[in-house]
């Protein structure tokens, strides 16, 4: 039944958007961390979304064909800002610290976009639920 599959599809999107929101929250929380080398500095984490194809979903034993999943999470490659701060406990021998490459403005916008997409999918499954209940109601009476 097609209506029933809407819950799976919207559910997979809710899951993906929730991961995206979690990543954004983690990025924002770590925005002000510092490290002694550019490798150790916190890198902003970004998700890559991907459509679950029907065949792929069936092979994997999943029933969420047509939904969305997180393909991978990658580190933002932007350079970690190098700041001269000799008094910082993490400063290297030249007195530099490496801040995280998180852009707070981008992350805040990302958070809003993810929340909006989440709401959209909640709305989709609410409508589907209403239609399903209406269909089931026909059996009564």
């Amino acid at each position: 039944m097609s209506i029933g599959r809407i819950f799976d599809i919207a559910g997979s999107a809710l899951n993906a958007q929730m991961v995206r929101m979690n990543l954004t929250a983690s990025n924002l929380a770590n925005a002000t961390t510092a490290a002694s080398s550019p490798e150790e500095a916190f890198k902003a984490k970004k998700p890559v979304f991907r459509t679950m194809l029907d065949e792929e979903a069936l092979k994997g034993g999943s029933k969420y064909g047509g939904g969305v999943r997180i393909e991978k999470i990658f580190d933002d490659t932007a350079a970690a800002p190098r700041i001269h701060e000799p008094s910082h406990p993490q400063a290297d021998k030249d007195g530099y610290v490496y801040k995280s490459n998180v852009n707070e403005v981008t992350e805040t916008v990302e958070m809003m976009a993810a929340a909006r997409s989440y709401q959209n999918n909640v709305e989709v499954s609410n409508t589907a639920r209403e239609l399903m209940l209406k269909t089931i109601d026909m059996i009564k009476g």
Partner: protein, 128 residues
């Protein structure tokens, strides 16, 4: 309307096509942030023809031949976006929301046709 053979007429198959469209639009909304995803929609006329077993038939020599719709995916069309986005995604949320709302209303309409038909049968059975 033949009450014993086909009490709901076209609406039974229409409901099937309507729910297929709802599912497809839900997929579009779910993939609103997926790179390279292309939004799709159902050509309702085609979809109804596919789920319908009663295809049009040429009953007279002068009728045009209607080619049988096969394959099952003829009704699936790609949506042409108003403005394409840089990541290759063609889902436009406002368009999808409007279509989903419309599709839900269409589903309700078909449902009430079926409800009316079944109420009619019930009334006939009770002999009112």
């Amino acid at each position: 309307m033949d009450i014993t053979q086909n009490p709901f007429g076209i609406h039974e198959r229409a409901l099937q096509a309507r729910s297929q469209r709802l599912e497809l639009l839900a997929k579009n909304i779910a993939n609103a942030d997926t790179p390279q995803y292309k939004a799709r929609d159902i050509d309702f006329k085609e979809a109804l023809r596919e789920v319908s077993k009663q295809t049009m038939q040429a009953t007279q020599a002068k009728h045009f031949q209607i080619s049988q719709a096969g394959g099952g995916d003829d009704a699936l069309k790609y949506r042409v976006p108003f403005s394409a986005s840089a990541d290759g995604n063609t889902v436009e949320m406002t368009v999808e929301q409007a279509n989903y709302g419309r599709a839900a209303a269409d589903y309700r309409a078909t449902l009430s046709f079926i409800e009316n038909a079944s109420n009619g049968i019930k009334r006939a059975l009770r002999g009112e």
